[in-house]
Amino acid sequence: MGSINHGDKTDWPVVAGTEELKYWEVLTWKRWMLAEVSSSEIIKLLKECWCRGGGQAERGRRSRAADIHGTDLIPVISFEKFGIVMSGAKVPADISGHMLDLDEEEDLEVFSKPLPEKFVMKSMVERFNDDFIETRRKALHRFLNRITEHPILSCSHHFKVFLTEEELAPHRKLGPGFLSRMSETMRAMANSVRGLRSKLEEFAIMQEYVDDFSNKMCSVDKVTHRIIKEHREYMDELKQYGPTYFQWAESEELLAEPLKGVGSCVEKCSKETEEQIQHLSEVLVPTLHEYVLCADTLKAVMRRRDNIQAEFEAKNEALASKATDKEMLQEEVDDLADRVEQANNALRGDWSRWRTSMRADLKSAFISTAAKNVDYYEKISRTLASWFFRAVLLPQSTAVKTR
C-alpha cells in the first residue's frame, strides 16, 4: 500500500455495514423525515456510528482505491463544479435535498448510485406514510453505502462535509449558480450538435447497451407491478371464497368438518398470497426500481463524458485553425485532453464495478423471489395435504361401519 499522507482524512472511517446501521432505528429516520429531529442530530448519529465501525479492511480498501487514481485523493476538486441549484419551494427543508445537490456535483464523470426519488408522484401527504418512509430509508441507506464504497466519491470533500458538519448552509456554493449551469448546458448542446469526431467504440457499445438495458429494466419493472396487482385481486377474491365454505358448513352435519377444512385451506392460501405480495414489494420491486434509476443516471453520465470529449475536440479544432493565441489555446487543449482521459478511465472503472453489482443484485433479487414462490406453494400444499388425510381417514371409518 502506498504511504499516502491523507492528513486528517486517515481518521475518517468508512461507513460500516448494514449491521451497524441497523442501530439507527427506523424511528430515527422517521422522526427525521418528520422534522422532529434536526439534521444535526442525524449527522451526529452518523458520525458516532462510523467511529464504531470501520476496520482495517475498509481503510485498506480505500487506500487501494487511492492507488488507482494516483496520489491525489481528492480528484473531485479538479473536476469542474457546478453551482448548487436550489430546487426551490418544492423541496422541503429536509436534508435529502441537499444531498442531491451536493452529490450531483461529483456526478460529472463518475456516477454514483441513483439517489432515491424525492417524491412519490401521488401527493405530498404520502411523504409521511410509514411504508414510504421505510422504503426511502432503505434506499437512502443503500445510496449512502454505495457512495462510501466508491473509491472516488467516498473521498469527496462534499460527502465528508455532508456527513460531519452541523450546518450545511455555509458550504453551499453561491458561485457558479443557475445561470452558469444553463450556459454549460447550452454549450453541451452545441457540442452535441456538432457531433463527436471519434467516439471510442467501447463507449458506443456501452451507450447502446445502456439504452437497451434501460428499456428492459422498465419492462421488467412494469411486469412486476402488474403481477403484484393481479396477486392482490386474486387475494381479494379468495377472501370472499373462504367464508362461503364456512357458511355452507353451518347447514351440514357430516360434511361440516370437511367443508370447514377446505375453508381454512382457502384462508391459508389468501394469507400466503399476502405474504408473497409483500415479499415482491420489499425485495424485487425496490431492486428493479433502483436499476431503472441507475440506467438513467448512467445515460446522463455518458452524455457528460461525451460533452467533455466534444469540448476537447472543439478546442482542438480551434487550435488547429487559429493562428493567434496558440500558446494559451494549447494549454487549454492539453487540459481538456487530460480531462477526457480521466473521464474515460473513471467511466471504465465504474462501468465494471457497476456491472458486477448489477449482476449480483438482480441475481439475488430474482433468486429470492423464486425461492419465495416455491415456499408459497409448499406451505399451501402442506395445509391441503393435512386436510386431505384428515378428511379421508376420519369419517371413512364411521362410514364403513354403517355399511
Binding site: S219, Y234, Y241, W248, L255, C265, I367, N373, S381, V392
Partner: protein
C-alpha cells in the same frame, strides 16, 4: 400418522411412507386406499369425465382425462403394497419389487396389473352405487359421443343441434376376453333427455329424480364460452348426460321403469310411447301446488325442514360457484402475466453476455408456468360440475317437498270438507242452525222446508259423506304411502349426497395439491436458472 402442518421440508410424503405404522393405522389407511383407488382409477379411466371407449373425435389425444398426480398415485400404490404385504406376503412379492424400483413407468404398470378392464369397469359402477341394480347388472351404459345435426324444428326453421350417442352393452360380454361385443347404439338429443326426466318427475313424485346437466353454460369465467355449440361445453354436457343415465340406472326404483329402458334401447317410437302414457295429464298444475304451499296447515315437519335445508343449500352452492368462477378468473390473470416475464427475459438475455443463458432459460420456465393454468382450470371445471349437479338436485328435493305439501293440503281439504258436510247433516237433522248460512236465513224468513225436502237432502248428504269418508281414507293412504316412499328415497339421497360431496372436495384438494406441486417444480427450476445468471 396425523395430518402434519408446518415445519416440514420437501419430501414429507416420502417420510410418511418410511414411518412405521400401527395396525390400526394400516387398517384405516387400507380402507381409505380402497376407496381412493376406486376414485383414482375411475378418474384415470375417465369416469365422469371422458369415459368414451374410443377417443372423442373433437378432443385431441393430447388432452388427458383426469390423470391423477403420478406422485400421489405412487404413494398410494406403495401404501397398498405395505398393507397387502402385511396381510399376505407371498403373493405380493413381485409387485413389491416393482414398487421399490420407483420409476413412473413401472408405477403405471403396477396400476394396470392390479386392475383388469373388467374390474375397472365394475369399479366405475360400484363407485356409483354400492348395492347395484338389476339393470346395471344386466347392461353397461355410456354416452360415447356427441355430434352435430341440422333439421327442422317446431317452427319449421333449420337449426343445428347436438345429438348424443348412447351405447348399451350386455354386462357379461367383456369378461369373455378378446374384443368386446359391439354395443347397441342410438342417438338422442337433449330435448329427449328432458322429456324423459319430465316423465319421471310426474310418474314418481316421491322420488328425487337426478338432474340433467345445465342447458346453457352458467357460472362461466371469462375463458369458457357460453356458447352451446362450443366443443368444451358439449363435452362436459356429454359427461353430464352419461352421469344422469348412470344415476337413473343405479336408482332402486327408477332403474326398473320401462320408459327408461325404452329410452336406452328404442330410438324410433320412443317419443310416442312416452306421450301415450298420458303422464302430462297427471302433472299437477303450478297454480295448484303454489296455493297448496301457502295454505297447507300441518305438513310433516321433516319435509318442512328438508325444504328449508335445500333452499339454504341452493343459495350457498350458487354463491360458491359464482365466487369460484371469479377466483378462477383472477388466478388465470396471475399466471398469464408471468408469461410477460418470459418475453422480457428473453429479450433482455439477448443483450447480456454472462447473464444471458440464465435469463433465457428462466424465461422459458416462466412461459411454462403461464401455460400451465389452462389445464389446471379445466380440471377445476369438473369440481364445479359436481357442485352444480347438487345445486340442481336441490330443485328435485324441493319438488318432492312440494308434492308432499300438495297431498297434505288435499288431505286437509278432504277432511275439512267431510267435517263440514257432517256438520251440515247434523244441523239438518237436529234443526239447529249453528252455521250461519243463506239457507238458514231464508228458512227463517220464508219458513222451513217440507220434511220430504229435508229428508232427501239428508240422504244426499249422507251419501256425500260416505263418499267423502272413502275419499279421505284414500287420501290418507296416499299421503302415508307418499311419505313413506319419499322418506325412503330421501334417506338414500342424503347418504349419496354426503358421499359424493366428500369425494368432490377430496378430489378438489388433490387437484390443488397437484397444482402446487407443478408450481414448486417450475419455480425451483427458475431458481436454478437464476443461480446460473
Amino acid at each position: 400418522m396425523n395430518g402434519r402442518t408446518d415445519g416440514q421440508t420437501d419430501g414429507w410424503m416420502d417420510r410418511q411412507m418410511e414411518e412405521d405404522w400401527t395396525d390400526g393405522q394400516m387398517e384405516r389407511m387400507g380402507t381409505m386406499l380402497l376407496l381412493r383407488q376406486r376414485l383414482v382409477t375411475a378418474q384415470a379411466l375417465g369416469f365422469r369425465t371422458r369415459c368414451s371407449p374410443k377417443p372423442h373425435p373433437t378432443i385431441t389425444p393430447s388432452t388427458p382425462p383426469y390423470l391423477p398426480n403420478l406422485e400421489l398415485l405412487r404413494f398410494f400404490s406403495v401404501m397398498r403394497m405395505r398393507i397387502a404385504s402385511s396381510a399376505d406376503s407371498s403373493s405380493n412379492n413381485s409387485q413389491m419389487i416393482m414398487a421399490d424400483s420407483g420409476s413412473s413407468d413401472e408405477v403405471a404398470v403396477i396400476c394396470n396389473t392390479d386392475i383388469t378392464s373388467t374390474e375397472s369397469e365394475n369399479n366405475i359402477i360400484n363407485t356409483m352405487v354400492e348395492r347395484g341394480t338389476a339393470l346395471l347388472k344386466k347392461m353397461e351404459i355410456s354416452v360415447a359421443e356427441a355430434d352435430k345435426r341440422t333439421g327442422k324444428n317446431t317452427v319449421n326453421m333449420q337449426e343445428t343441434y347436438t345429438v348424443y350417442l348412447i351405447e348399451t352393452r350386455p354386462a357379461e360380454s367383456v369378461s369373455e376376453g378378446g374384443t368386446p361385443v359391439a354395443p347397441d347404439t342410438l342417438w338422442r338429443r337433449y330435448s329427449e333427455f328432458e322429456l324423459l326426466r319430465t316423465y319421471l318427475l310426474v310418474t314418481y313424485p316421491y322420488i328425487i329424480v337426478p338432474p340433467l346437466p345445465e342447458k346453457r353454460a352458467e357460472f362461466v369465467w371469462h375463458k369458457l364460452s357460453a356458447d352451446n355449440l362450443d366443443p368444451d361445453f358439449v363435452e362436459r354436457r356429454r359427461v353430464g348426460l352419461e352421469n344422469f343415465l348412470l344415476r337413473l340406472a343405479s336408482h332402486p326404483v327408477l332403474s326398473n321403469d320401462n320408459i327408461f329402458f325404452l329410452f336406452l334401447t328404442e330410438e324410433k317410437g320412443w317419443r310416442e310411447a312416452v306421450l301415450e302414457t298420458g303422464f302430462q295429464d297427471k302433472a299437477d298444475s303450478r297454480l295448484k301446488s303454489l296455493s297448496a304451499m301457502f295454505r297447507v296447515k300441518n305438513p310433516d315437519k321433516r319435509f318442512t325442514s328438508l325444504k328449508h335445508y335445500s333452499e339454504d343449500l341452493s343459495t350457498v352452492i350458487s354463491q360458491l360457484l359464482r365466487i369460484r368462477a371469479r377466483v378462477a378468473d383472477r388466478l388465470y390473470g396471475v399466471y398469464k402475466v408471468h408469461g410477460n416475464y418470459g418475453r422480457v427475459f428473453s429479450e433482455w438475455s439477448a443483450i447480456e453476455k454472462e447473464m444471458g443463458d440464465g435469463l433465457q432459460s428462466a424465461g422459458h420456465h416462466m412461459d411454462t408456468y403461464a401455460a400451465s393454468i389452462d389445464d389446471i382450470l379445466e380440471e377445476e371445471e369438473h369440481y364445479a360440475d359436481q357442485l352444480k349437479e347438487y345445486l340442481f338436485y336441490t330443485e328435485a328435493v324441493r319438488s318432492v317437498c312440494k308434492k308432499h305439501e300438495l297431498i297434505q293440503y288435499e288431505l286437509e281439504m278432504a277432511a275439512q270438507d267431510l267435517s263440514y258436510k257432517k256438520q251440515q247433516k247434523e244441523e239438518l237433522e237436529t234443526g239447529t242452525v249453528r252455521i250461519f248460512s243463506l239457507k238458514g236465513m231464508t228458512s227463517k224468513l220464508f219458513g222451513q222446508e217440507t220434511p220430504e225436502q229435508r229428508e232427501s237432502k239428508v240422504a244426499a248428504l249422507e251419501q256425500s259423506i260416505q263418499e267423502g269418508e272413502g275419499a279421505l281414507k284414500e287420501k290418507n293412504a296416499e299421503s302415508q304411502e307418499f311419505v313413506e316412499k319419499a322418506w325412503n328415497d330421501i334417506e338414500r339421497f342424503k347418504e349419496q349426497k354426503e358421499k359424493d360431496l366428500r369425494e368432490a372436495l377430496i378430489s378438489y384438494a388433490i387437484m390443488q395439491i397437484s397444482m402446487c406441486k407443478k408450481g414448486i417444480q417450475v419455480w425451483s427450476n427458475a431458481k436454478e436458472c437464476f443461480n446460473k445468471m
